[in-house]
C-alpha cells in the first residue's frame, strides 16, 4: 500500500520561551514491511542537531530552536510503501538483545490484576499463542475509550478503570508479556484509519512481543489485530516515554499547549507494469 503522511505538531507558549530542545523518533523504521519513498521532518526556526541510529534500530534526531519564540511547529510529511508482514518485524537491523525488554518500568509494572490476565497462559509451549491471548484479553479488559486516561496513566490504573486508549492497552500487553517472561516493547507509529470504520487516532501505538524463532511480532489491542500494511512503524522503547515520537523541553517560564493533527492517506497503488 502506498501511504502518505502529514503530521503537524504545534507547541504554543503563553510567554515567549528562550529556546526549545527536542529529541525525535520520527523516521520510519528500516524493515521489510516499509519502503520509504520520501520523508521530511522540519521544525520551524529549528536547527538540526545530532542524529544517530540507536541499538534498537531507531533513527533519533536532535533539534534545537533558539528563542525567543511563542510557537513552534514540527512538520512531518512523507510517502511510504508498506507491505503486509502479518505483524512480524522482518529485516530490521538491531543490536539490543531482547532480554533488555524484560525490565519493567513504572507504567508497565504488572500488579496483581495484570498478572491475573496471564492466568493459564503457557508461553513455554506456545509463546505466539500466549501473546495473541494477552492482546485479546487486554482488548476486552481495557475498552478503547478516548479521554478517560492521560499520558501518565499506568497499565495497572487503566485496567482498574477498564478503559483507555492505545497507549494504555499497549502498556498492559507489555506488562503481562514481561510478567510471563516474554520480552515486550512499546511501538509508536502511524495508522491508516477508516478502512475498518474505526475512528482511532492516526498517530498510533501498539506493542511488540519477542517470540523465539520468529522475532519481534506486533500486537495492536486497540484494533484487535497484528500490524499490517496500514501501519507505519517509527520507533520503540520500554514504554511510551522511551518510544515517544517527540521528547522536548522549553527553556523559559511559558506554559505550553499543544495541537496535534495527523492524517494518513492511501494512494492508489499502480502496478509498475502499467506505467
Amino acid at each position: 500500500m502506498l501511504l502518505t503522511v502529514n503530521h503537524v505538531t504545534r507547541y504554543f507558549y503563553d510567554q515567549p520561551v528562550r529556546g526549545v530542545v527536542q529529541s525525535h523518533r520520527l523516521m520510519p523504521s528500516q524493515c521489510a514491511g516499509q519502503k520509504m519513498r520520501s520523508w521530511k521532518v522540519s521544525v520551524s526556526d529549528g536547527q538540526m542537531g545530532g542524529g544517530f541510529r540507536d541499538g534498537a534500530g531507531d533513527w533519533v534526531q536532535g533539534w534545537t530552536v533558539l528563542g525567543p519564540v511563542n510557537e513552534i511547529t514540527v512538520h512531518v510529511t512523507g510517502e511510504i510503501e508498506t507491505f503486509d508482514q502479518a505483524g512480524v518485524l522482518r529485516g530490521h537491523k538491531e543490536l539490543t538483545p531482547p532480554d533488555c525488554y524484560l525490565r519493567s518500568t513504572h507504567p508497565t509494572e504488572a500488579d496483581a490484576a495484570l498478572a491475573a490476565l496471564a492466568d493459564g497462559l503457557t508461553p513455554a509451549q506456545d509463546a505466539l499463542a500466549a501473546a495473541h491471548l494477552i492482546s485479546e484479553r487486554v482488548s476486552d479488559a481495557i475498552v478503547y475509550t478516548a479521554d478517560t486516561t492521560n499520558a501518565h496513566t499506568t497499565a495497572a490504573e487503566a485496567l482498574a478503570q477498564g478503559t483507555g486508549v492505545c497507549q494504555d492497552q499497549a502498556h498492559a500487553v507489555i506488562a503481562i508479556a514481561r510478567h510471563i517472561g516474554l520480552p515486550a516493547r512499546y511501538v509508536s507509529g502511524y495508522l491508516l484509519v477508516g478502512i475498518d470504520g474505526a475512528a482511532h487516532d492516526a498517530a498510533h501505538a501498539w506493542a511488540e512481543v519477542f517470540i523465539a524463532g520468529l522475532g519481534w511480532v506486533g500486537f495492536d489491542p486497540a484494533n484487535r489485530c497484528c500490524p499490517d500494511d496500514r501501519y507505519i512503524r517509527l520507533g520503540s522503547g520500554l514504554d511510551s516515554l522511551h518510544a515517544a515520537m517527540i521528547r522536548g523541553i522549553a527553556r523559559g517560564q511559558g506554559e505550553e499547549s499543544l495541537d496535534v493533527s495527523v492524517t494518513v492517506q492511501a494512494t492508489q497503488t499502480q502496478s509498475q507494469t502499467q506505467q
Binding site: V21, S23, Q47, M48, G50, R53, D54, V60, P97, C100
Partner: protein, 470 residues
Amino acid sequence: MTSYFNEMYQGDSVRAPYARLQNWMNSMPAELRQMKQAEAEALFRRIGITFAVYGEGGDPDRLIPFDMFPRVFSGAEWAKLERGIKQRARALNAFLVDVYGRGEIVRAGRIPGRLVYLNEAYEKAVAGFVPPKGVYSHIVGIDLVRTGPDEFFVLEDNCRTPSGVSYMLENREIMMRMFPDLFRENRIEPVDNYPEILRRTLASVAPTKCDREPTVVILTPGHYNSAYYEHSFLADLMGVELVEGQDLFVEGEFVFMRTTEGPRRVDVIYRRLDDAYIDPLCFRPDSMLGVPGLMDVYRSGGVSICSAPGAGVADDKAVYTYVPEMIRFYLGEEPILNNVPTWQCGKADDLKYVLSHLNELVVKEVHGSGGYGMLVGPKATADQVEMFRARITANPNNYIAQPTLALSTTPTFVAEGIAPRHVDLRPYCLVGERIELVPGGLTRVALTEGSLVVNSSQGGGVKDTWVLAE
C-alpha cells in the same frame, strides 16, 4: 583468634618499606604528636575538605579524621598492584564496549545475559554506541584489601564517578607541609600530577567531531552535593571550568557553556552526576540537574561524557563476581588480583550456604554502599543476624555474601599511642588513550579497635599512602 597481617611488623622486625618510619615514630613524644595532629586538623579545616567520602551521606560538615601515620608500599609491591589494577580497568572497559555492542561474552555463555541486560545500570539508550577510544570508564576506583605479604583482594570496582581522590592529594599535601624531613629521608613517588594526568586523559577522549584542542569541563550537581568540594578542587587543579547543568545548553550538534564572553563549545564533560539526571530528554524527564538534548549530541559524536553513560553495569556487585572471567575472556590473561569469593543469595545453593553461615560472613546489599545495609557476621549480635536472615529470605536477589576478610593493619595514632588498625585502599586508575595510575591512592582506616569497617560514616579515617621509589 584470627591473625591479621601487620604491614609494618613481621614479628619483632620491621618490614623494609617502613624501616625509616621507625625512627620518626620513636622521635615523636606524645605532646608533639598531639600538637601535630591539631595542626593537621586545622589545615584540613582551613582547606574546607569535610565532605563524606564515596557519597556515604552523614554530616557534611564533619571532618573525616586524618591519621598522620602513613601507609607504605614498596616499589615492588606496587608494581604488582599496578599491573593488576590496569588489567582490571582494561577488562572492565572491554566488557562495557562488548555488552553495549554484540555482547560476545553473553553469547559465549561466560556471564548470564539477564545479569547484564536486566541490570538497572544497563542503559539501553547507549546500545550500539562506541565512545571515543572505546572507553566507558575513564576513572576506575578499585577498592582493595590486603590479607598477607602478597595477598590482595578486590572488594569492589567503581566505574562511574569514584570520589575521594581529593583526599589522596590533600593527605599528601598536608604530610609534606608538616613533615618535610620525612620526604627527604624517604624516596616517595609523587601523586600531585594526578590532576594533570586526569586532564590529559579526558582530553584524549575528545569526540569525533572535535577538530581542535578540546575544552574540558566538570559537571557538578551543585554545592549541595556532598562531594562538591572535590568537584571544585579538581576543576581548580586541572584549570577547567566547573559547571552546573544550567550553565550548559545544546544548540544544533554541539554543547555550549555560557561564559561572560559568550557561548563556548564544550568537548568533554567529566560529569559527577548520575546517568538518570544528565538529560531529561533521554532519562528522567523531571531532572533539573542535567542538560536537555545532551545525549543526542553525545551519541552523534558532538561531545564526550566521562564516565560514559551506562558504565555502571560493570561495577554492580553481582557483575563483580564475573570480573575474573572478563579478564580471561577479553585479555586472555589470568587475573593478577583476586576477587573475594562471593555467594549470590539469588542462587539457591548459595542462599542455603549463606543462611547457615551468617555468623561467619559479611552480607551486603547488591546496590548498597557506604557500609550501610551490611552485616558483619562475626561482630553482629544475635538480633542483627536474625534480622538479616529475615531480609535475605524475603529478597534473596538483593544480597551477596563474602567471607570475613582478615584486613591488614598499619600502625595508627590513637588516644593511647600507636596501635594497629585495619585499612583498605582505593587507587584511581585513569583510562583514555593510555592507561595510567599514579603511585598511591586513598587509604581508609577503621579507627575503632578491632573494627573492620573503614567507611567514614562508620568511624573511619584516612591516611597518606606512600609508594617508595625503587
